[in-house]
């Protein structure tokens, strides 16, 4: 077999030891690991802020925080979770898995890969430094709307530069993914043989390249408005504050799909594996993903139904947004059809994928309701929206990251992890995430605006329930790093295929995957076996 030679190669691989190995590494697996560790750290940093938020909201009245600090908590929580936890997790998984899944020896641009990771710690140092400068951390919301954001203190330029660095990192990551997929697939690994995770990442990478520069442009205009006397977004100088919102959401809506499309890919791998049946409608899934990506460019103003757009604008954005329900709904049907007449077992990756299937769909329902512009006049900027986007991002994106880690961790470490603990992690997360976010639908409909540090007493009951769910969810997450740590340290030896129903080139490699893989391209037989998706 080809990889016994690979194992021999490892002896010739003189990677530096200690810190220098991680600083200078160009190995896709090392960089993937760095991304995933960074993501996990930021998940807990952002999570700690969420705990502070739920603590203040536990009862009416201001118990712990100054309102300005509360605003910093919501703002930095969002930035840390979006740019620090979810996006780096996807890039980390892409680094680990894409070369292994397409039969490439590494990412196409390994030095840039290293650079794109090491920008991130600097970016988040700048962002978090905001807590220690006059004026406090950014408090204008992660959406950075002017003129409010221009009232920020010294943390304002820090946050802008942090976003520039994150954007540069994301763009480089995306370039790397595209070049790898387009140029480094093994012979015989045609585009329509690629696993869905690779497909969804390819589409995501194009979205990143299209919209991250738009964000960079928007925040640069904020910077010049603040420091260099321009008036892009100031009416008194002939500018328009709403123009920022248009530019921001032109980035922001595709960004939402950047956070969720790779999750679709993961689910499309996990469900077939544990249904022991190929994915239903593989090609249709690819086209559905591509059409969601396309639609994401023409729906942005549904985030702004209350800014006072002309009727024609509101109608267009309402109808285009409703269209997204079709490819998204179709995907849910294809996943359900994959399970139909399968042979299902419920290991932790499958459990998290199933929670995704149910709970993301709930987020989809509230999304459909939010698309209806007149009804959105009541939902906009309430806890109904908070419930909606947390349903699509927590059981949507975060749960699929858990599913991916539990799916591929035996391949990475060569050990099985503690299944019982992982199932506890699943049940606790799934129950508490609903206790946490479901009541927020009621709060929003009852009239509670988002981003407020204190509330009228009629909102007290559901807020307390939500906070209890929040604390439970937060504490349950401590299981996750513990399970990973134990799995790295040891455990039952994993087989090459790990899961009975797993297909794909990564499962043709031994577990743990050697430091260098596919230095010799996989054989046509291996590709054919892997492509039984």
């Amino acid at each position: 077999m080809a990889y016994t030679e690979h194992a021999a190669h490892d002896h010739h691989d003189h990677k530096p030891s200690g810190m220098w190995r991680w600083l200078s590494t160009t190995n896709h697996k090392d960089i993937g690991t760095l991304y995933l560790i960074f993501s996990c750290v930021m998940f807990f940093v952002g999570g700690a802020m969420a705990m502070v938020i739920r603590l203040e909201l536990f009862k009416p009245g201001m118990q712990f925080l100054d309102p300005a600090f509360y605003n910093s908590m919501t703002t930095v929580h969002a930035l840390a979770m979006i740019f620090g936890a979810v996006m780096p997790a996807w890039v980390g998984l892409a680094n680990w898995m894409i070369p292994m899944q397409v039969g490439a020896p590494d990412m196409a641009l390994p030095r840039m890969n290293n650079f794109s990771f090491w920008l991130l710690p600097f970016a988040f140092t700048l962002l978090l430094l905001g807590f220690f400068v006059p004026g406090g951390a950014p408090a204008g919301g992660w959406t950075l709307y002017p003129p409010l954001v221009l009232q920020g203190g010294d943390s304002f330029p820090l946050a802008i530069f942090a976003i520039h660095l994150m954007g540069a990192s994301s763009i480089m990551g995306a370039i790397n993914v595209i070049v790898t997929i387009m140029n480094m697939r093994a012979p015989g690994m045609t585009l329509l043989r690629m696993p869905l995770f690779v497909w969804t990442w390819l589409i995501t990478a194009y979205l990143l390249i299209a919209v991250m520069p738009v964000l960079a442009g928007a925040v640069t205009m904020l910077l010049t408005d603040h420091f260099f006397g321009t008036s892009f977004f100031s009416a008194s100088g002939g500018g328009d504050p709403v123009m920022f919102q248009h530019v921001f959401w032109f980035f922001g809506h595709p960004e939402v799909y950047i956070l969720i499309l790779p999750a679709f890919g993961i689910v499309s791998e996990v469900i077939p594996t544990f249904s022991r049946k190929p994915l239903f409608g593989y090609e249709a899934m690819v086209y559905a993903t591509a059409s969601i990506a396309f639609l994401s460019f023409i729906v942005w103003a549904h985030h702004m139904f209350t800014v006072g757009m002309p009727l024609a604008g509101e109608l267009f954005f309402m109808l285009s947004t409703m269209l997204i329900a079709i490819p998204t709904g179709v995907k849910v049907f294809y996943w359900s059809a994959t399970m139909w007449r399968g042979s299902l077992s419920f290991e932790p990756p499958m459990l998290f994928a199933l929670a995704f299937l149910f709970l993301f769909t709930i987020g989809g329902f509230s999304g459909l309701m939010l698309a209806i512009a007149p009804a959105d006049f009541q939902y906009q900027d309430t806890y109904f929206v908070v419930a909606h986007f947390h349903y699509v991002l927590v059981p949507g994106s975060i749960f699929t990251i858990f599913a991916a880690v539990y799916y591929w961790m035996p391949k990475w470490t060569g050990h099985m992890y503690n299944m019982t603990l992982a199932k506890w992690h699943f049940w606790l997360s799934t129950i508490f995430v609903n206790v946490l976010f479901f009541p927020q639908h009621f709060l929003g409909l009852a009239g509670m605006p988002r981003r407020i540090p204190d509330y009228a007493t009629q909102f007290a009951d559901w807020n307390m329930v939500s906070s209890i769910g929040g604390f439970g969810f937060g504490v349950s997450q401590l299981l996750f790093p513990y399970i990973i740590y134990k799995c790295i340290r040891g455990g039952e030896k994993a087989t090459a295929q790990v899961w009975e129903g797993a297909h794909g080139l990564e499962w043709e490699l031994p577990s743990p995957a050697p430091y260098h893989t596919w230095e010799e391209a996989p054989t046509p037989a291996q590709i054919a076996h892997g492509a039984e998706h």
Binding site: M62, G342, F358, A373, A460
Partner: protein, 291 residues
């Protein structure tokens, strides 16, 4: 399975929350139908969407749950690995959602067009958002009202005030001077802001509109004549430190009562300078006299 333990845990959580010392017993679940024809139509639209979602959920979740139960490997299920395509099913589950969406889009579009029709209004009020209060100017009569969080709420909401919010009537939802409007009259709001973007939201009117510095937005309402009373709302766009503390109270009076109120206010405010944005600083004093 751990299911029993987990069910107990949920029950315990709910009991704990129910037994909360601040038993305001609201547990509100849904939107208010409101007090205008439009707000009631929007409520209807919301419920229509809700029931569609429930119906789809019953079907989709039912299908998934059936699969989870019926096709378990532990029960000896054998996978049908050839089942990866079914043209008829795929056409149905693409076309059916399209039809449902059209069914939703038609009433949504109708309502949207209705909300946009701000013609033939009889009374115009300019609404100005400030950090962190609301200013109201009755354009035809020049009467001005400045509306800030009431004193009791403001005292109770300070960090470590020691005042139980439960003892404050309408905590964070009452103001010193509400916006007084007539029922049965089509009222136009012109919304703008002085400093940053705010959003004026009164759920009972189903109006949420951004107040943007340098721009004027329009909204309108016509309240049912039998719906006089006080209706409360809040700023809905993050506007800085005290965003959570600039509520809105709308005092809906009969047309006659409103006219009488407006006359009194005019008499009180007439001696003052005609109201312009520049004179807003002086409005504090004038507003303090309004009752």
């Amino acid at each position: 399975m751990n299911m029993k333990k987990l069910a107990t845990a949920i029950a315990a959580t709910i009991t704990l929350a129910l037994a909360s010392p601040t038993a305001f017993a609201a547990w509100t679940l849904n939107m208010t139908p409101g007090i205008t024809a439009i707000s009631q139509r929007i409520y209807g639209l919301h419920m229509l969407m809700y029931w569609w979602c429930v119906a789809i959920a019953v079907f989709v979740f039912g299908w998934m749950i059936y699969s989870l139960v019926a096709f378990r490997k532990s029960q000896g299920a054998v996978p049908d690995t050839k089942l990866v395509h079914n043209t008829r099913a795929e056409i149905i589950w693409t076309v059916l959602p399209v039809l449902i969406l059209i069914g939703m889009a038609v009433p949504a579009t109708r309502t949207l067009i209705e909300t946009d029709d701000a013609s033939k209004t009889e009374l115009t009020i300019r609404v100005t958002g400030y950090q962190w209060k609301w200013g109201y100017q009755y354009v035809e009569s020049g009467v001005e009202v400045l509306s800030t969080l009431d004193r009791d709420s403001n005292a109770a909401r300070q960090l470590g005030s020691g005042i139980d919010p439960g003892t404050v009537p309408n905590y964070l939802l009452s103001v010193d001077h509400p916006l007084v409007v007539p029922a049965g009259v089509k009222v136009r709001l012109l919304l703008t802001a002085q400093d940053v973007i705010h959003a004026w939201w009164v759920p009972a009117l189903a109006i949420k509109k951004d107040a943007i510095p340098g721009f004027v937005n329009t909204a309108w309402f016509k309240i049912d004549t039998d719906k006089t009373g006080l209706y409360r709302g809040q700023c809905a766009e993050l506007c800085g430190r005290d965003h959570g503390f600039m509520p809105i109270v709308v005092d809906v009076r009969s047309k006659a009562d409103f006219e009488a109120w407006l006359k009194t206010q005019q008499a009180i405010q007439r001696p003052a300078e005609p109201a312009t944005p520049a004179a807003m600083a002086g409005v504090d004093a004038a507003a303090a006299k309004t009752g």
